[in-house]
């Protein structure tokens, strides 16, 4: 019966991640009160920025009901590439960054086209492109290293007005941009396609284009993440991206994005990424070995998912007996 499957979904899916974020923020304030300062916030934002960029791209693909594993490869590739080829001049910085973005775009478009034209599962296609990009990254930069220009690194960690770093500003910009994008035609179409691509197509929505956009955006965001990492870490690594796929998915899910598509959004993801970073920090501060932090991130992930589903189940019961 159809009525068995519909649930009232009015709660904001980002809620869990925001609450977790606030909780962890309070915990950090209590545990490390001496460390709390604007500088500290800047530092943390910079540390989380690579993940945030990667995860926001991933979220867009998850929203349309796909998955993009290739972000890991793209991050490795663009990180290695920019670490090697970027010279200390404004024009080089800009052109190399631009080239990286184009690479990300190309990979994203390739994913989107192959997945849809040849009807291959997104998992397989993006899994292959991950390997391809990862392989090229090894060719470009066989060992960790590279000397990206200091001026680029400095530019990325400049404090605007002497107070807030570029990363903090970027987080605000990304949030604002998403809230704006969500209510554009394309934004609504993405939710529609993710919810049911057949129904979306019946409404005259060009499903192919919407999905292609999501994969392309994911590629571009991954490239941005790779380039940003070059600035923050001031070196490149052909395996830089390896851990980012898992983390990006984790951040999206904690942020309330459904892996089945149609629900969630980048704001939750941003908070999800911050939460993941903060929990690692708190554990380090509490003197727990870093091996434990992955375990805790895993627990956090399952907890976040349970919180949202349990609340939904409770709500359903209430409605039934109201």
């Amino acid at each position: 019966m159809r009525f068995l499957t519909h649930k009232k979904r009015t709660k904001n899916p980002a809620l869990v991640s925001v609450l977790l974020f606030l909780l962890l923020a309070v915990m950090t304030c209590v545990l490390q009160s001496e460390a709390m300062s604007l500088d500290w916030i800047n530092l943390k934002a910079e540390a989380a920025m690579t993940l945030i960029l990667a995860a926001v791209g991933e979220t867009m693909v998850l929203l349309i009901g796909g998955i993009d594993l290739s972000i890991a490869g793209v991050i490795s590739l663009t990180n290695s590439f920019s670490a090697i080829y970027m010279l200390d001049s404004g024009s080089s910085i800009i052109s190399v960054s631009f080239a990286c973005i184009l690479m990300g775009l190309a990979v994203g478009l390739f994913n989107g086209i192959v997945i849809q034209k040849f009807k291959v599962q997104p998992f397989i296609v993006t899994f292959s492109t991950w390997f391809i990009c990862g392989g090229i990254a090894y060719l470009v930069l066989p060992k960790d290293g590279g000397k990206p220009p200091v001026s680029f690194a400095n530019a990325m960690v400049t404090k605007i007005g002497g107070r807030l770093s570029v990363a903090v500003i970027l987080i605000f910009l990304l949030t604002a941009a998403w809230l704006y994008f969500k209510k554009t035609k394309l934004g609504i179409y993405m939710y529609a396609v993710g919810s049911s691509d057949k129904a979306a197509s019946l409404n005259g929505i060009n499903v192919f284009r919407v999905k292609l956009f999501a994969y392309a955006a994911s590629g571009v965001f991954a490239a941005l993440a790779g380039v940003y990492r070059t600035a923050v870490v001031t070196s490149g690594s052909p395996t830089a991206g390896e851990s980012f796929f898992n983390q990006a998915i984790a951040a999206s899910v904690i942020g309330g994005t459904l892996l089945t598509g149609g629900r969630g959004g980048a704001v939750g993801t941003i908070f999800g990424a911050l939460v993941l970073k903060m929990i690692a920090d708190i554990l380090v501060f509490a003197g727990v070995s870093s091996y434990w932090s992955t375990l805790f991130q895993g627990l956090l992930l399952i907890m976040a998912v349970l919180i949202s589903t349990v609340s939904e189940i409770m709500k359903d019961r209430k409605e039934m007996l109201a």
Partner: protein, 535 residues
């Protein structure tokens, strides 16, 4: 098309004093003279469409004039849906042409079809559950501000205007569609198509989830649209509706058109014969009463939230008990309560034994089977074969130690395929490739393979063709004769009247009354549902 260059006369338009004019429902043709290659306002010619292994459309034709309401009839799998999908740009025809007002129409996809004035109310709903009412109604045609953002004030305004224009009870534009019950969603689906202001409007099983009141609202709207000169294509399995509404009927069988005649020349028996290609005697089986004394289900003061209130009901062995009333009066919850899907208070006794129906598994163990309406979602695993689907719920019955006994499995599967005459090449055919009617039969087979004593049938004939319906009714009767208790709900009141021994009428979660044997009629069901006595 005008007479000078065209080859037919447009349906005659009566001019009224104020010059607005109206068009009669039945096109009146004066001095119709047709040349060899004369054309109707809308024509689909020689449409052929093949899918791997099946020729869904074979040289099919479809013609209609402006102002006509054309019934498109056919069994499930006759090619109606494919024809509509070709017209709406969902499928591309292998060959064939489409003309509108004498000009060829090129349809390159759903968007292009909508742009050229073809819009459809789909049987499988095209609403996006995660979006709001307003977002859904104008999906694909949003007005955007210069900033690129969708203008939400405008959207709300347009939504309310749309409700107002068609006289529909206002639904909050910002509720998510997933939170609305099925009849409301079907209304939205209809409104969405109407908002597109197309020239050719297709109603594909649009009335199947509507209450009688909503259905008559829709018919009025369709008549108005025809008066405005639109072409209406109306698909329904309810012949009475078609009789009342349509001006012309086109019948499809095995992928091609077999008849095209004005409504007044067609009678119901003839249409059914045309659809099936053979005679079908008596649509409903002869009514008989097999009711015994033994009470299978006894509900005492059963309540569940505000949806079910104080239900007292007995279902006896061999009884076909109908559940009637307007749509959404708690009938669904009654069925859910008996299948352990909602929590209830009160007492339920099954075969004289007090039980707590806490989940579907307990219910199956107690010998209850639920056959739901929505075969794709709840009833069937589309990617699995007919065999796997049928034995899925009945594995306990075919186990030999820890292994599945292939022989027992085959027995059950063959029996079910035979009972319901499921049309498929073999039991290994994938359920998803079957036509709608056959899928519903597999669902029935699957539920009955557990050998239940109590059958809960919830709107099982929704979207099923006449031939299949007839077989289903026969099977229902047969099961009643075997002494099973059957609780039967249908949105089609005609079915309730013709199939059931007794009918309980529900209103606002309560049982408003009961209509027994000789008194069963549409009028009496309505009477009871508004609180009067059956006469």
């Amino acid at each position: 098309m005008n007479g000078a260059e065209g080859r037919t006369f447009a349906p005659f338009i009566f001019r009224t004093a104020d010059g607005t004019g109206f068009k009669p429902h039945v096109p009146v043709r004066i001095g119709v003279w047709k040349e060899e290659n004369s054309m109707a306002d809308f024509e689909m010619k020689n449409i052929t469409k093949s899918f791997p292994g099946v020729k869904a459309l074979d040289n099919a034709h479809f013609t209609a004039d402006k102002g006509e309401i054309v019934a498109l009839l056919g069994e499930n799998g006759a090619g109606k849906s494919t024809l509509i999908k070709v017209l709406c740009g969902e499928h591309k025809a292998d060959s064939g042409e489409i003309y509108f007002e004498g000009r060829p129409l090129k349809i390159h996809g759903t968007k292009s079809a909508i742009k050229q004035g073809i819009c459809a109310v789909y049987q499988e709903l095209s609403l996006i559950p995660d979006l709001t009412v307003a977002e859904n109604l104008f999906l694909g045609v949003y007005d955007t501000a210069i900033s690129g953002r969708v203008s939400y004030q405008e959207l709300e305004k347009k939504t309310l205007e749309l409700f107002h224009k068609y006289g529909v009870d206002v639904i909050d534009p910002w509720t998510k569609v997933s939170a609305l019950p099925l009849p409301k969603r079907q209304m939205l689906e209809i409104l969405k198509a109407l908002s597109k202001d197309g020239e050719i409007i297709i109603f594909d099983e649009a009335t199947s989830a509507l209450s009688d009141r909503q259905a008559s609202w829709l018919m009025d709207i369709i008549r108005n649209l025809a008066d405005e000169g639109k072409i209406i294509i109306f698909i329904s399995h309810r012949l009475d509706e078609i009789k009342a509404l349509c001006t012309k009927v086109i019948v499809y069988r095995s992928g091609t058109d077999v008849a095209d005649l004005p409504m007044e020349e067609a009678d119901a028996d003839q249409l059914v014969t045309l659809m099936l290609g053979r005679e079908i005697g008596g649509y409903y089986p002869q009514k008989e009463c097999f009711t015994k004394e033994e009470v299978l289900v006894s509900m005492k003061n059963v309540s569940s939230g505000h949806k079910l209130k104080d239900i007292n009901l007995d279902l006896k062995a061999g009884e076909i008990l109908g559940v009637g009333g307007l749509a959404g009066q708690g009938q669904a919850e009654l069925f859910m309560a008996l299948f352990g899907l909602v929590r209830t208070t009160g007492h339920i006794r099954i075969k004289g034994k007090d039980v707590r129906l806490k989940n579907p598994r307990t219910c199956i163990r107690e010998g209850i089977a639920l056959i739901p309406e929505d075969r794709g979602l709840q009833g069937l695993v589309l990617a699995q074969s007919i065999r796997e689907n049928i034995v899925m719920a009945a594995l306990d019955r075919i186990m030999k130690g820890i292994f599945i006994s292939e022989q027992k499995e085959k027995e059950i599967v063959d029996e079910m395929i035979k009972t319901f005459s499921i049309k498929a090449e073999s039991p290994e055919t994938i359920a998803g490739t079957l036509s709608g009617g056959n899928q519903q039969k597999v669902v029935l087979g699957k539920q009955l393979a557990t050998k239940p004593d109590i059958l809960l049938m919830f709107d099982i004939t929704r979207g099923v063709d006449v031939g299949t319906k007839k077989e289903m009714f026969n099977v229902i009767k047969q099961y009643a004769e075997e002494g099973k208790g059957i609780l039967f709900y249908s949105t089609d009141m005609e079915e309730l009247v013709n199939v059931c021994n007794s009918i309980v009428v529900m209103n606002q979660g309560k049982i408003a009354g009961r209509v027994d044997r000789e008194l069963i009629s549409r009028e009496n069901i309505l009477r009871v549902s508004v609180g009067e006595k059956a006469v």
